[in-house]
């Protein structure tokens, strides 16, 4: 190779033999030419470079993405050409979930509002029957033969407590079937309920839309308690004796001074 051409290779670093360059530069003519070549190269190396226009780059990158899509290879990313060249644009897709949430917020709020409205309406529709059902259940519980006798006020207070608990359950579940099932379970768990209570409770569970029946039942139960109390108090009396008119009773038969013969009352002037 011509020595002048070898200088070009050394000038552009395409020859690794530095010793050869030193030998070449010992020649004054070659050394002078090397200086001139270096000066030109310096100006070229320090010349500025142009960059392509943005539209041109966008077109190229769009064509590249289109070609990839046409080739059928699954892309690892689907950024638009503009996002490929800008870190700021890289953050744009991250905002997409936020916008999605904003778009979904309206319908979700509307559905939630509708559900709450329906739930409240249903609760108002079911509240009287439920309240009656709770009172009925409490009344049934008070007919337990083994339970101690409660006064009317104590039973009502207990019924109020049960009523509050029942409302809490109702708010939690808002399902009439669940309430009925709960009542049925409580009825089953209570082993000492009277047949009347069970029958009435079953009727109440089956049809909770009979508020008047509840009041009547309360009165019946009160009468039943009264009868039971009178039986307890008069258990020493012989109910199996034959009926005897007072007029036939001897005066000394009864220690009760109020039990006087009618004739004696009329004939006794001291009583007047």
């Amino acid at each position: 190779m011509d020595k002048k051409l070898q200088l070009i290779l050394h000038l552009y670093g395409e020859s690794e033999d530095r010793g050869e360059l030193r030998d070449l530069l010992k020649d004054e003519t070659l050394n002078h030419e090397y200086q001139e070549l270096s000066e030109s190269k310096f100006w070229l190396d320090h010349s500025t470079h142009e960059r392509p226009e943005k539209d041109v780059l966008d077109t190229i990158l769009a064509a590249a993405a289109e070609a990839s899509a046409a080739s059928g290879v699954q892309p690892v990313q689907q950024d638009s050409p503009s996002t490929l060249r800008s870190r700021n644009a890289d953050r744009a897709p991250a905002e997409r979930p936020v916008k999605q949430r904003r778009r979904l917020f309206g319908p979700i709020t509307a559905v939630f509002t509708l559900l709450v409205t329906v739930g409240i309406g249903y609760q108002f529709m079911q509240s009287p029957a439920t309240l009656n059902g709770v009172l009925m259940q409490e009344s049934l519980s008070s007919t337990d033969a083994n339970a101690p006798q409660k006064s009317s006020d104590e039973g009502f207070a207990a019924s109020a407590k049960e009523e509050e608990a029942s409302f809490a359950d109702l708010d939690a579940e808002l399902q009439p079937q669940a309430l009925v099932a709960d009542l049925a379970t409580e009825s089953d768990a209570s082993g000492a309920r009277s047949s009347l209570g069970n029958t009435a409770g079953s009727a109440m569970i089956a049809d909770t839309s009979l508020p008047d029946w509840n009041d009547d039942l309360d009165e019946v139960l009160r009468f039943q308690r009264r009868i039971d109390m009178l039986l307890e108090q008069n258990k020493d009396l012989g109910w199996d004796e034959a009926a005897v008119p007072l007029e036939l009773l001897p005066s000394s038969r009864s220690a009760n001074p109020a039990l006087l013969q009618a004739g004696s009352k009329k004939s006794n002037p001291g009583n007047r």
Partner: protein, 201 residues
């Protein structure tokens, strides 16, 4: 550590990694555009050819037009396409006919065969900016010299790659480069001489 061109090409072709292709374009855009700008001497036309080049590149990479054999020289392959695009443009404008290719470039550069007409002083003065002046000097080079100079300086190809691309021997490529640099040096000396004369007067 920057991924190699071949790594990016593989990522783009096999995984449709658009960022990889974008990196390739970003990495070599100035080289390719600089070469095209030096060839056609018009910025708008150079941008058009830059786009045309990469559209051809994309088609070829997907085997729609031509082929890319992945021999580890993606830039040289792209530069060949860019050169063909530039030559097609120049041929269409019939500017390539101004210079005949008689195969004597190794013994005598195009600059030496130009009419003995130095750059006019007013032309040099008009190019006040150094870059504009350097561009104007490159424009005065013969097409072969300018092409080799642009491929070496702008595209950063080796002389062996340039020889393969321009279908000539490496000695021819080196000879064209030598004359290009010496002619530029001569034009710079003329400028200095002119500036000295103007400052003296």
């Amino acid at each position: 550590m920057h991924p190699s061109d071949e790594h990016l090409v593989t990522a783009y072709l096999e995984r449709s990694d658009q960022r990889a292709f974008s990196t390739l374009v970003e990495r070599h855009q100035e080289r390719i555009l600089g070469f095209l700008l030096g060839m056609v001497r018009d910025k708008s036309t150079a941008n058009d050819l830059f786009q045309e080049t990469f559209l051809r590149v994309i088609k070829a990479m997907h085997n729609q037009r031509g082929s890319y054999d992945r021999q580890g020289r993606w830039l040289a392959w792209v530069m060949r396409i860019a050169r063909n695009a530039a030559l097609d443009h120049l041929r269409s404008r019939k500017k390539w006919q101004d210079v005949s290719d008689n195969g004597d470039e190794e013994s005598a550069s195009y600059w030496e065969r130009l009419p003995a007409e130095d750059l006019k002083a007013d032309e040099i003065l008009h190019n006040s900016e150094q870059r504009d002046w350097l561009t104007a000097c490159i424009d005065q080079l013969s097409p072969d010299q300018r092409e080799v100079l642009l491929l070496r300086h702008e595209a950063d190809l080796t002389f062996r790659e340039i020889a393969e691309m321009t279908d000539c021997s490496i000695n021819t490529a080196l000879g064209r480069m030598r004359y290009a640099l010496l002619n530029l040096r001569g034009m710079m000396s003329d400028k200095k001489k002119l500036q000295t004369e103007l400052s003296g007067s």
